[in-house]
Symmetry: C4
Subunit: 276 residues, 4 copies
């Protein structure tokens, strides 16, 4: 009888595994969609909870719904560990850690008040969408993009380092020129202003009022205008290169003369005239 139970449990494990981890069956896809919907709902719930008027009115309903979702997530997390062959691999994977972090805050709220806002980390679970949408063309887009950004990482870091040193120097000059009356109360604040200006965000919470300060600010802005071109240029050139490489990979090779210059739609080799 113990055997029978074990084999039944094994069957249940396999079926659950296909539903929870799989995306090919109908049940698997439905489970993923419901999960994604619940993640989205739980993120929205945390948001609503922070809106005062709303929280006062519907506090109990919000907490009730959050607990239901938390329990669902907890069950899902336990099932994920039980049904997989190597639980440690899942537990210490990127998604595994996020899944754990996503369930903890509500339980923590028993002991410490105000931790429920941490449930917003569930937003990270929204990245699961990419697991569901594992359409080849779509994921190749994503890979392509990541590659381009990775390849240009080095140069962007070099560039950012220069920008930060400039910000420290310009911030200090502005602190001396403008002084605390204009809102430049300290060098860190002035550096904050410089970053706000260079990135063209421009809140206007701190802005120069002396003519000299406005002159330097104008200089910083025009510099920032030119500077914005650099990271854009780096990434663009990288994506363009990547595009070109992909394009070339799609070219057809002639069996007669081994020319690689033929486009994918060509019917005859452009080098020797042999039919492709």
């Amino acid at each position: 009888m113990r055997e029978a139970f074990k084999s039944k449990y094994e069957l249940f494990r396999q079926k659950t595994y296909i539903i929870i981890y799989g995306t090919n069956t109908f049940a698997g896809r439905l489970f993923d969609l419901i999960l994604l919907g619940l993640i989205l709902l739980s993120v929205i719930l945390v948001m609503l909870e922070t809106i005062q008027g709303f929280d006062v009115k519907y506090h109990d309903e919000l907490v009730f719904l959050e607990w239901i979702i938390t329990i669902f997530f907890s069950i899902e997390y336990i099932l994920r560990i039980l049904t997989i062959k190597k639980p440690t691999k899942y537990i210490f994977s990127f998604y595994g850690i996020i899944d754990l972090i996503a369930t903890l805050p509500m339980y923590l709220s028993f002991f410490i008040t105000g931790t429920s806002v941490l449930t917003v980390v569930r937003a990270l679970r929204l990245l699961r969408l990419f697991k569901i949408l594992n359409h080849p063309q779509f994921s190749s887009q994503s890979v392509h993009l990541r590659e381009s950004i990775m390849a240009s990482r080095g140069r962007i870091l070099v560039f950012m380092y220069f920008v930060l040193i400039s910000c420290i120097l310009i911030g200090s000059i502005m602190y001396v020129v403008e002084g605390p009356e204009s809102g430049f109360t300290s060098i860190p604040t002035a550096i904050y202003w410089c970053i706000v200006t260079l990135t063209t965000v421009g809140y206007g919470d701190i802005s120069p009022i002396t003519p000299l300060g406005q002159f330097i600010a104008s200089f910083v802005m025009i510099m920032g205008y030119g500077i914005i071109a650099v990271p854009t240029g780096i990434v663009t050139a990288e994506i363009a290169k990547n595009n070109l490489i992909r394009e070339q990979k799609n070219k057809r090779i002639c069996k007669n003369c081994a020319s690689e210059e033929n486009s994918i739609s060509a019917k005859f080799c452009s080098e020797c005239g042999h039919e492709l």
Copy 2:
């Protein structure tokens, strides 16, 4: 006599069709220009109506003019249905639906007050300009642009999804760090702030005041600075590729099959294999 009337009506229909739908005859072009002028005028009228001082002074004149334009549009709409062979095709086409929506609000204002502001949807009729300006070079520009944007749509959506998740997380952190005193009254508001900052709009209606908040904000801005490079890079690379393909396509014409698909370095036509 009925026959004569029918043939006369048929003639009128044909003539009207050429004027309303055609752009090759003088009358057709004149009609399109007058129509465009009236659309522009009606859009300006709705705008003026919302300026308080102006509306008080010239209310009657504004309403009078709007009714004239509405009646003109109504007649035009009826004529468009009467003169075309397949009225249903026009009625359910993109422009057909817009044309209907553009005339309705004024009639609705009999029953419900305040709907006249809806007449601003007439602005969509301004898209007709592209029908009038159907110069081949011009419309190819438009097609070329749409193609590039369409081709980069996938990657931009992937990118936007990442940005939105980041905004939710950063917004929540800022809500906890800054609190309602700085204007971060709820997580949705904090997310709104994050979008305002990441897109470098930077209204300044909400801005961090605590040192830690300003530090995180600086980080977000520099991130946004790097991030702005990505969609630009995607679209630019796509347009550049499109340019290159168009350039290459125009290069070599085969004398045998008149194919224009041959690249500049090709020795044999890629369509028929004939020597170039």
Copy 3:
């Protein structure tokens, strides 16, 4: 004696022509530099005049200096007409018209007060710098840039038209959603807000305060974020293409096999191995 005067005058005309119009002689270059300095000075004078504290203190000196410059410009203008062979050609040229407009405002100030601010049009005379700096490499840069911008003009206009129609529609929606309490006092104001937001300028003089308004605004910003990519992409692709064409023009042609594939630094043809 009249003949002698005439020939002397002719000589004076020629010498003056070389100084005023020429840039090759030392005197010609010196004249251009002094002229540019005076233009800059006069622009700065107009600026200083508008600074209240400064104007009150040094009003007489400012007016005196401006009159001296105006008289110098007047004499220069008359000499330019006298010494050139076809005066009408100069008078109706781009620079000729600017030169005239640059001298008139001060004379007009006799009859109408407050016209002295118009002397700022002299800033346009600063474009003369390009005439002085007619170094071939420099002016080729300028031509190259203008070509790229001209070539992408068509597509940018199409794009701008779409953006304007979007702004009218979004502005109207925001006017209805936010209303006059948030600063959206009329549709034109709302359109102004939409342009401020879409271009990521973001003054913050008008900003949405209702949750729905902030949601729509977020959408507009993210749209604007993607939209900023389009003109950048168009211009970049154009410049890149232009660069490529210039690069190819610099390639060397092999005398043996007429291959155009050799780079400018190559010593042997890459197609047939013949010495270049």
Copy 4:
């Protein structure tokens, strides 16, 4: 005995040289890291000193730490001069001048109060990081970036000159249109506003309030939107070209002369004419 001292001193000089200037030995690397840490610490100290609450509480500690760092820097500077073969070369080099300027302000604070803020120039010493990180791939990134920016310098300057002239003209128009009531108190202020707007920073400290002013501002913003594309395009095209050249250079190595300059489609080496 004097000889022995001299040889000992020589040995000390050599050892110190390796530690201070070298980056290959463990001691050399450690020294560089400690130096960089101290530079960073001293920059942070200056920042903290300007934060009022903090300075009042920890003034003595801050000054004490700053003096220790200054003394360390002074000793380092003297050792750098003593151990190098050609001291003048170091003293008048870029880093030599920065190193001197970085130590002076604290000594100056004996005679003049308020100079301690100048110690922030030490931030420039952070550029030393590039000396420490002289990993070939990393420094090639840096060189590559500098080359691209240098190559596009000419065109960006031409462009900036046009933008500045436009700003003067637009600023003057806005000064006339808006007047001092809206914050456009003088033409220089209006030019400052124009730069703030064109670069899409948009503080909002000055913003148009008259309908005409808002209309012109909208025009300026849309112009600025198109204008932002130009420097981006110039830099991007340059980086893309540089990428392409680097890519192509790495493609084909000649077996005869080991030249790496051959493009992928070359059949003969462009340096020695040998068949590839």
